[in-house]
């Protein structure tokens, strides 16, 4: 587990197995709000393909904290923060929908932005843009 300072913002890089424990500790320390849970697809740039990023806000201490963990390819999954902050539920559904990362312990992990029977995870780097060829402009022929 390492601390970083990214442009005067506190960032904690947490190993995957400590994700939930660190989050509980952060909530005890005064981070009442989970502002967002999102993900990054590093594709081939890193050995662990995805990063899951949780942004926490503390009103009482007037500070913010970012938690980042790396998640591998294959069956990417990480512990869900919804039991700790219920507001993270929809954010984790969005990460699941867009990246395919599963959250263990999430009460209802279903697609939220795309239709329920959609195939694929649109924000992965290997998912095509999905653009339709139009006149006067060449576009990728994508799946």
């Amino acid at each position: 587990m390492t601390w970083e300072d990214s442009h005067a913002q506190d960032v904690a890089r947490v190993p995957g197995e400590d994700w939930e424990a660190f989050a509980r500790a952060a909530k005890e320390a005064g981070f009442e709000i989970c502002a967002d849970v999102t993900a990054v697809d590093w594709m081939r740039q890193r050995p662990e393909r995805f990063e899951v990023v949780a942004n926490l806000v503390s009103m009482q201490h007037k500070s913010r904290l970012r938690m980042i963990t790396s998640v591998g390819r294959g069956q990417p999954s990480v512990a869900s923060l919804t039991p700790i902050w219920p507001g993270a539920g929809f954010a984790e559904r969005e990460v699941y929908d867009m990246f395919g990362i599963e959250f263990e312990g999430h009460p209802d992990l279903t697609r939220i932005l795309m239709p329920d029977d959609w195939e694929g995870h649109p924000l992965r780097k290997d998912f095509g843009v999905g653009s339709v060829p139009v006149q006067f402009k060449t576009s990728h022929q994508v799946s």
Binding site: L113, M114, P115, W118, P122, F127, G128, V129, G130, S131, V132, V134, S139
Partner: protein, 145 residues
């Protein structure tokens, strides 16, 4: 074309009730067309019916996402005949600037469209011109519903 036909067409154009289907930014322009300055009430159209069963014109104003397309189709199916569809704005007509996986590239993939209004968003004058063109087409018998 008999006088009864003409009277029916006149009645249909002069009291067309729009079904509110404002999805995104174009809805703001649609609202602007409906209120005081560019008044839709002078054409009998200020009452946007919330229920599709009472509406005869569906103005698709805004982006139609993949998730919204079946809903749009269902609302269209629930409207009784005669009904017309105006596709307002670039996103409803062709997908607009969003040529990607998330949006239906043109609402005419889902419902049959009578009038396309380009613009991003089309100003109230453009929407009104489209509506009046629809009225003219109905009066001239070009759109037989």
């Amino acid at each position: 074309m008999t006088t009864v036909d003409k009277a029916a067409k006149w009645a249909r154009t002069r009291s067309m009730f729009p079904a509110s289907f404002g999805l995104a930014c174009c809805a703001i322009e649609m609202m602007a067309t409906g209120v005081a300055h560019y008044d839709l009430a002078r054409f009998g159209m200020e009452a946007f019916r919330a229920s599709p069963r009472q509406a005869d014109l569906m103005v698709v104003a805004g982006r139609v996402s993949q998730k919204m397309a079946p809903v749009l189709r269902q609302v269209y199916d629930q409207m009784p005949d005669p009904k017309w569809v105006i596709s307002m704005g670039a996103c409803a007509s062709t997908g607009g600037m969003f040529n990607n996986y998330a949006l239906v590239q043109g609402v005419d993939q889902v419902v049959p469209v009578d009038i396309y209004i380009p613009g991003c968003p089309p100003g109230p004058q453009s929407l009104m011109h489209g509506i009046l063109t629809l009225h003219d087409k109905i009066m001239a018998g070009e759109i037989v519903n």
